[in-house]
């Protein structure tokens, strides 16, 4: 048996350490740990609630809009307001732009070089030798597509900025909509980029994914998870609040059940925080302790009814009932690409429902006391913001991010997190480079900038500018 450590795992967002034990050419034990702590939730305490959307999105540069939307949803509940129909559509369209960007960038910047030989220059070299199965010609074709892919991701951000002002870190999302106007010229600019992207995803992106899936068929089984899927749903519709992607949970590929947020809890036995009791996001309080014995990650272990769950495009596809092929690496990559196209189509529908010149937000005021929960699926799974307002200031803030779900360490019962589970049984050809392990990890689209957690702090004095 050999023990191996990969640190840092490259082509993921922020640091990740993976330790694996290999026996007879297979992974038999795995732990994944994040090695950055910033403590964003703690910073929220004492701030003006209206700032939550703009401030919390600074947690993550790749899924910033998801945090802004989640915070806005929580504030809608706390303030007792709702977005205008145009506002809701525009928020969804901004979000759609960011998801399309994320999915394209994830594939062409992070994932593809696991399967395709890149150019012979840094940062694409040095690279591990072996297991590049594509014939020369196809390899070259896909490399040209990576260049296109990077441009298309940039275009998706451009599309977003039409209503989001700038990106990364959009600036227009308010609690009741967006500040930008839905004028005819903006709508048509958005539509034109959207059509360009839709055509490209359909013709090129799906083709590239199909090529990989064809040459790497064994990756349909490698990296399979238990099939515990969770989704908070995303894209609420105006007035009705019905979500285009419905929420739900599924245990071991079983029946889809309704989501009950009171069943969400977090364990911290193996995380670098003091104590080891289970906590609910509504009341979780923790203090960092980097010297804690047995702990190996800054990520907490969120559980739903005591079980570890996986989120993201694969979970959304399974829960919608439209995908049942499997839960392996290729399933994740394929469903992500299919979702990109689906979201393009949805955005097109919302465009048609916009009323040009209609109000994109309504004025609102903050409240002195209040509570709110904002749940939405982000690119890589369920994202939740829990907040409480006291005396007009934020009194409690807790965020449970998608990556904490999928990359959770062991819980108090010693159950592995979804990625730790999925890594078991991964065949390893060369224990020096462990490309297979990297492939499994990247298929989950990890993002550790989000893996943040709160500590309790005394109320801060009034901000002095």
């Amino acid at each position: 048996m050999t023990k191996k450590t990969i640190f840092p795992v490259s082509r993921v967002h922020e640091p990740l350490r993976v330790d694996v034990e290999i026996q007879n050419g297979q992974v038999v034990e795995a732990t994944v740990g994040a090695t950055l702590f910033r403590g964003f939730e703690n910073m929220m305490i004492g701030r003006d609630p209206r700032d939550a959307a703009l401030f919390t999105q600074r947690i993550c540069g790749i899924c910033s809009t998801a945090h802004a939307i989640s915070a806005a949803l929580a504030l809608q509940q706390a303030f007792g307001v709702l977005p205008t129909p145009n506002g809701q559509h525009l928020i969804n369209m901004i979000f759609a732009g960011d998801i399309i960007q994320n999915h394209i960038r994830h594939f062409y910047l992070l994932v593809i070089y696991d399967y395709v030989k890149g150019p012979n220059m840094p940062p694409y070299s040095p690279r591990p030798e072996g297991d590049y199965r594509l014939p020369q010609k196809l390899n070259e074709e896909l490399i040209t597509h990576t260049k296109e892919g990077m441009l298309k991701a940039m275009r998706a951000h451009e599309m977003l900025a039409i209503f989001g002002a700038k990106i990364p870190m959009q600036q227009t999302i308010l609690v009741t909509g967006v500040t930008e106007q839905a004028t005819a010229d903006r709508i048509s600019a958005y539509a034109s980029i959207l059509h360009e992207l839709m055509e490209w995803v359909e013709k090129v992106h799906l083709y590239d994914v199909a090529v990989l899936a064809d040459y790497y068929k064994d990756y349909y089984t490698i990296g399979s998870s238990k099939g515990n899927m969770i989704s908070y749903g995303m894209f609420p519709q105006p007035i009705t609040g019905r979500r285009e992607y419905a929420s739900g949970v599924m245990l071991a590929k079983g029946e889809v059940q309704a989501l009950d947020i009171n069943k969400i809890s977090e364990d911290i036995k193996y995380s670098w925080y003091q104590g080891d009791t289970m906590q609910r996001p509504q009341e979780g309080t923790t203090i960092p302790d980097r010297n804690k014995a047995d702990a190996y990650s800054w990520v907490k272990a969120p559980r739903y009814a005591g079980q570890a769950f996986e989120g993201g495009p694969l979970a959304r596809a399974w829960l919608s009932g439209k995908y049942q092929r499997g839960t392996g690496v290729m399933d994740r990559i394929i469903t992500r690409a299919q979702e990109t196209l689906k979201i393009c189509q949805l955005a097109e529908e919302w465009l048609a429902q916009l009323s040009p010149g209609g109000p994109t937000h309504t004025p609102y005021t903050s409240v002195m006391q209040g509570e709110g929960v904002g749940l939405t699926d982000a690119m890589r799974g369920g994202l939740g913001h829990w907040l409480r307002i006291k005396d007009g200031k934020i009194d409690h803030y807790q965020i449970v991010t998608p990556t904490t779900w999928t990359f959770s360490p062991r819980d108090n019962q010693g159950q592995r997190g979804p990625v730790e589970e999925a890594l078991l049984g991964t065949p390893v050809a060369n224990t020096e480079d462990l490309v297979e392990v990297g492939r499994v990890i990247r298929s989950f689209d990890p993002c550790f900038t989000c893996a943040v957690h709160m500590i309790d702090a005394p109320e801060i004095p009034t901000m002095i500018i």
Binding site: I6, F7, P8, S10, R11, V12, E14, P15, R17, T35, L36, F37, R38, G39, N42, M43, G46, R47, D48, R50, L54, F55, R58, G61, I62, S64, L109, Y113, M121, P122, P123, Y124, P126, P128, M150, L151, M154, E158, L160, G164, A165, K166, I167, P168, Q171, T172, V178, E180, Q181, A189, P288, R290, W298, H361, L434, C447, A457, M463, I464, I465
Partner: protein
């Protein structure tokens, strides 16, 4: 090859719909063709960050990120892009530090986490020991040719260092004992990054202000360049974000933030916050975010010798007396005084660059003579005298602000 002067003009005159990098690539190509320079070896470290600046740089257009990598930067280490992983990657880093010592650039994204001796942020392993971001940045910076901070976190601590700063986040300059070129912004605009990189490659260190920000991009305030500036002057203010009029009352931090967003705009010139009705939140400021929050509250009250003024009183006064223009000018003047005290200590106004060739010197002299003649023809002698007196008074004032006795090591 462009002269440095032309290059600076190019950077500062970005027009809507055209990205800076669009101009740069042909320049770079011809420079490389004349083999005057080679790509710069780069080590890009991500510390306490959100990856937003890397994502922003990926939004660089014409050239795309891909072209940027192949024509300007030789990125040896950036864990978001490297194909190698684990020990192979760490080896690539160590090789670059060793073989390119004194030659490579260190670009840092994210703040240095100093809590618990840096252990809140570990970035690679050496001899089976975890190496903290703080340790790595101190070690690598000592051997780098330039150290460049991208984004507000790396430059000044930024959001990672927001109160109560649980991770002990600090700007890179506070940790390494050498000059750090700061490219702030949350995130930094791709043009700010590619423009600075190109300047470094072709002409060395660009002119910096006292916060070590390139004056190319950070010499003027958002307020000065703002497309809604006229509404500020006319006293037309929006009541809620998204409304028509100047966004000052709903929290715009444009008057205290140095950046050229109004000129350059974002994402290929598609939009920028104030255009979209969102107040500037001052994300390129050294005081972001704590000094800029609450985002939707206007800048603080202005104490004067008569009374404490704030924007509400000022605008009420405007309505009452109907002296819009005068009133706002007054407010702006008082405000600026306060701003100078607290926000931009030491930021120098952009000085004219010394001419590089005799031809340029001649041209400049001609232009000056023309201007002088024009001025003389429309002003009386006494006016000129008064203006001179006034200017001297201003100079003294300016000197006090811009060259304070204690610079506090910045």
């Amino acid at each position: 090859m462009l002269s440095r002067r032309e290059f600076i003009q190019l950077c500062m005159s970005a027009t809507v719909g055209m990205s800076l990098t669009e101009y740069l690539i042909p320049v770079m190509r011809s420079t490389f063709a004349q083999s005057k320079t080679t790509k710069a070896p780069v080590i890009w470290l991500e510390l306490g960050s959100c990856t937003g600046n890397s994502v922003s740089l990926e939004n660089a257009i014409n050239p795309s990120m891909e072209q940027l990598l192949s024509e300007i930067l030789d990125v040896r280490y950036h864990w978001l892009l490297n194909v190698a992983q684990g020990d192979d990657l760490t080896k690539a880093l160590e090789d670059t530090v060793e073989k390119e010592a004194g030659n490579f650039w260190l670009i840092v994204e994210g703040s240095v986490m100093t809590a618990d001796n840096g252990r809140y942020n570990e970035i690679f392993m050496r001899n089976d020991k975890m190496v903290t971001g703080m340790e790595a940045v101190m070690e690598i910076a000592a051997k780098a040719k330039y150290v460049i901070s991208v984004g507000d976190c790396a430059a000044f601590g930024g959001p990672s260092a927001a109160f109560p700063n649980p991770g002990g986040a600090k700007g890179v300059w506070e940790v390494v004992k050498r000059q750090v070129i700061n490219i702030p912004g949350c995130p930094a605009h791709p043009d700010w990054m590619s423009g600075t990189f190109t300047h470094l490659l072709l002409y060395g260190v660009p002119e910096l202000d006292s916060y070590n920000r390139p004056l190319l991009f950070f010499s003027k305030t958002i307020h000065d360049l703002c497309e809604r500036r006229q509404q500020f002057e006319d006293g037309i203010f929006a009541d809620f974000p998204g409304g028509p009029g100047c966004l000052y009352k709903v929290g715009c931090k444009g008057p205290v933030t140095h950046a050229d967003c109004p000129l350059r705009q974002w994402n290929h010139g598609v939009n920028w916050p104030v255009k979209a009705g969102a107040p500037c939140i001052g994300c390129a400021s050294p005081h972001f975010p704590d000094g800029m929050m609450p985002f939707y509250n206007h800048l603080p009250d202005i104490p004067t010798s008569f009374a404490t003024l704030n924007i509400k009183k000022i605008s009420a006064g405007l309505v009452a007396f109907g002296i819009g223009g005068v009133g706002t000018h007054f407010a702006a003047a008082v405000l600026k005084k306060r701003i100078h005290k607290h926000y931009i200590k030491g930021t120098k106004p952009l000085e004219t660059l010394p001419p590089e060739t005799l031809e340029q010197a001649k041209q400049e002299l001609n232009e000056l003579t023309k201007q002088k003649n024009a001025l003389l023809s429309i002003t009386t002698k006494s006016d000129v005298k008064q203006a001179l007196r006034h200017r001297k008074w201003w100079r003294r004032k300016l000197a006090d602000f811009f060259y304070p006795k204690d610079k506090g090591g910045e």
